[in-house]
Structure formats: structure tokens, C-alpha cells
């Protein structure tokens, strides 16, 4: 096993270059999930310290509830005991993606992207854009980005500062691919820092009418939905953190 990178040296370089670290709770949770012998109490403590993570776990643990008033599982402890470590796995995988996507929208498109419940968005129908990036190593899986042609065009126009009518198919696909690339690059950095070394494969972007998402053997699937103005985005991650 390679020696761990020099943390103090990294902190000094990160400070010099202005590189922001992932939130401590997300890093800690990923580290705990990466170990197969982690105790549930340790995972509960990390999640309970972060209101955002707690809210997402309870949302995942109460899939049929329309809102919090309908939750039958009301605590982090209960959610993990009833649903197992799989819930924490979904949080550990989905949270860095969600953070990277919202940050990308805020930074490069000046748009506030909101994370919303899946049922709050209209379901995509028919032909739509699908981007995917695979990752392989100590953790293996795929990240998928689904969006309508209208949303993909609006994103490309906003990133490039060009009117939608001036954009060709290649520009729109490339912008969607870069969005996926940025999101997954941040996600991968978080996994590697938690000890789950992996490499990214090149992004694939195309049109499809197939809505089935393959689930990584031995892993789980997390579906996330986002909205900003008229743009609607669906992100899916399928991963097995113990692939080796």
C-alpha cells in the first residue's frame, strides 16, 4: 500500500493555491463507509452533526412520505438500524456529487440549483440526453446525468455565454459532458481522499429513450433531482465501495 500523502504539506499547498477541502462530515462519512467493519454508532454520530446529511438520510428512509409530517422513521439512528449501512452508502456517494453540481451552477452559470425530491419534477419522457462516466479501482461504478434537450441547451448557452440558437449539437453535448466531468472529478477527489482510490473513464454523452439504469453488482443506486429556473437535472450514481 502506498504511504499516505503528507497531510501538513497538502494543507500548506492547498492554502497557497486556494483549494477548498470537502466538508468534514462528508469526508468522514466516506471514510467510515469505505471500511466494511464500521460501527453504526460512529456513522450515526457523523450524520447527526450535519443537518443536511440527516435530512437526506431521513428522506431516503421514508420513500413514500410526501413531506416530513408523514415520516414514519424520524431519527438518524432509527433510519440506519432499519435500512442498514446501505443508506449511509447512498449518502456518502450522493452528497459529493450534489455539492459539486450545485457549486458548478453557482460558479459557472450564476444560477442557484436546488436539490428537490424526485416526485417534484416532471418525469423525463422519450428521447433525452444521457451522460455517463465510469470509475474503477477500490470503488467501482458509474455516474449518470439525464436531462431534456431544452435543459441541455439552456446549460450550454449559459456556460458559454451564447444565444441558444447559435449552439450546435456538438457544443451542447460537450457542455453537458464537461458538467458531468466537473461533478465527477470533485466526487472522485473525495473518494480518493477517503482511501477509495479510483480512476475516471472518459465521459460518454448521447441521446437515448432508455430509462433503465444498471446497478453495480453488490452496490446501490442513488437518484437525485435538481432544478434551477426551467432547467431540470437528474443524477444517478451506482457504486460498490468494496469492489476490490
Amino acid at each position: 500500500m502506498p504511504p499516505p500523502p503528507d497531510i501538513n504539506q497538502y494543507k500548506e499547498i492547498a492554502r497557497r493555491y486556494g483549494i477548498a477541502a470537502a466538508p468534514e462530515s462528508v469526508s468522514r462519512l466516506t471514510q467510515l463507509v469505505a471500511r466494511q467493519d464500521s460501527c453504526v454508532d460512529d456513522i450515526v454520530r457523523v450524520i447527526e452533526k450535519d443537518p443536511g446529511l440527516s435530512a437526506r438520510l431521513l428522506r431516503v428512509a421514508n420513500p413514500r412520505a410526501a413531506d416530513e409530517s408523514e415520516y414514519t422513521i424520524g431519527t438518524v439512528d432509527e433510519a440506519l438500524l432499519r435500512n442498514g449501512i446501505g443508506c449511509a452508502l447512498l449518502l456518502a456517494m450522493g452528497t459529493p456529487l450534489s455539492l459539486a453540481l450545485t457549486k458548478t451552477f453557482q460558479t459557472m452559470l450564476s444560477l442557484k440549483l436546488e436539490s428537490v425530491d424526485l416526485h417534484q419534477l416532471d418525469t423525463l419522457t422519450g428521447l433525452h440526453m444521457l451522460g455517463s462516466i465510469g470509475f474503477a479501482g477500490k470503488v467501482a461504478g458509474h455516474v449518470y446525468l439525464r436531462l431534456s434537450s431544452a435543459s441541455a441547451t439552456a446549460i450550454a448557452a449559459s456556460i458559454l455565454g451564447l444565444p441558444p440558437e447559435e449552439l450546435g449539437t456538438d457544443e451542447i453535448r460537450d457542455a453537458a459532458g464537461e458538467l458531468l466531468n466537473i461533478m465527477t472529478g470533485n466526487f472522485k477527489s473525495n473518494l480518493c481522499d477517503a482511501g477509495l482510490d479510483c480512476k475516471l473513464q472518459p465521459p460518454q454523452v448521447g441521446m437515448t429513450d432508455d430509462f433503465s439504469t444498471p446497478i453495480e453488482p453488490g452496490g446501490g443506486l442513488e437518484r437525485l433531482a435538481f432544478r434551477a429556473d426551467k432547467i431540470e437535472i437528474f443524477v444517478e450514481v451506482s457504486a460498490n465501495p468494496w469492489s476490490d
Partner: protein
């Protein structure tokens, strides 16, 4: 004389954003889509600054940076990494190879200009006259 900047990224979107960011300045942008093309462009164009991605097909940014630093004719060209990869090992490896700065995607054009301005002197073009 215009400053020459080499933008090496497999994403056309990023190359367009880099070009747009430097449009108000006396800057000539040269583009390459991977490390191999980037090395050839660096040798041919002798840029004043290189803006380099990490994950690219054919030859990645770390390999290009390694080869650049091994070449006596090119090793003094300042390099700014522009990448979504900010993992500890990646950052340490790249810092040890010798880069002037590191910008993590997503980024604002202002951040790129600020970091580039620390490596080369950027002169603004005169504002276009209103039509």
C-alpha cells in the same frame, strides 16, 4: 506584443471559456485537446503561459507536465493546472512537479485572470467604441 497562452483541455467548452475570459486582454490563445498536442504546441509556439487540464485522452496533464519539466527549452514556461481533480495525492504530485498555480473546476473567469495575472503581465485592450 500580445501574451501567448496555451490552453490544453479535451473539453471544447473549457477552451471556449478560457478564450472568452482573456478576450478583453492583449492575449493570443493557442489550443490543444490533449497532452500530446499540448507538448507539440508548446515546442512550436513557445507560449508565455500554459493552462493545463489533468484528465485527458491520449496523454494526460500530469504526463505532459512531467515531459515539459524534463525539456530544458520548455521547463521555464509557467503552468496553471485547471482541473476538477483536487484529491490530496493528485495535488501533491502536481505541486512536486512544479506548477505556478492550481485552479479547481468549477471556476470563475475572474479567478483564472487573477491567477494568470500573477504569472504574466496582462494588458487590457481598449474598450470597443459604441456603435
Amino acid at each position: 506584443m500580445a501574451i501567448k497562452i496555451l490552453s490544453v483541455d479535451d473539453s471544447r467548452t473549457i477552451r471556449l471559456i478560457v478564450g472568452k475570459a482573456f478576450r478583453p486582454y492583449h492575449v493570443t490563445i493557442v489550443e490543444a485537446a490533449n497532452g500530446e498536442e499540448g507538448l507539440a504546441a508548446a515546442a512550436r509556439e513557445k507560449p508565455d503561459l500554459i493552462i493545463l487540464d489533468v484528465t485527458m485522452p491520449v496523454m494526460d496533464g500530469v504526463t505532459m507536465l512531467t515531459k515539459l519539466k524534463e525539456d530544458p527549452a520548455l521547463k521555464a514556461i509557467p503552468v496553471i493546472m485547471l482541473t476538477a481533480e483536487s484529491g490530496r495525492e493528485n495535488v501533491l504530485q502536481i505541486a512536486r512537479l512544479g506548477v505556478r498555480d492550481y485552479l479547481v473546476k468549477p471556476f470563475k473567469e475572474d479567478q483564472l485572470i487573477e491567477k494568470a495575472g500573477r504569472c504574466v503581465t496582462l494588458e487590457k485592450r481598449p474598450a470597443a467604441a459604441p456603435v
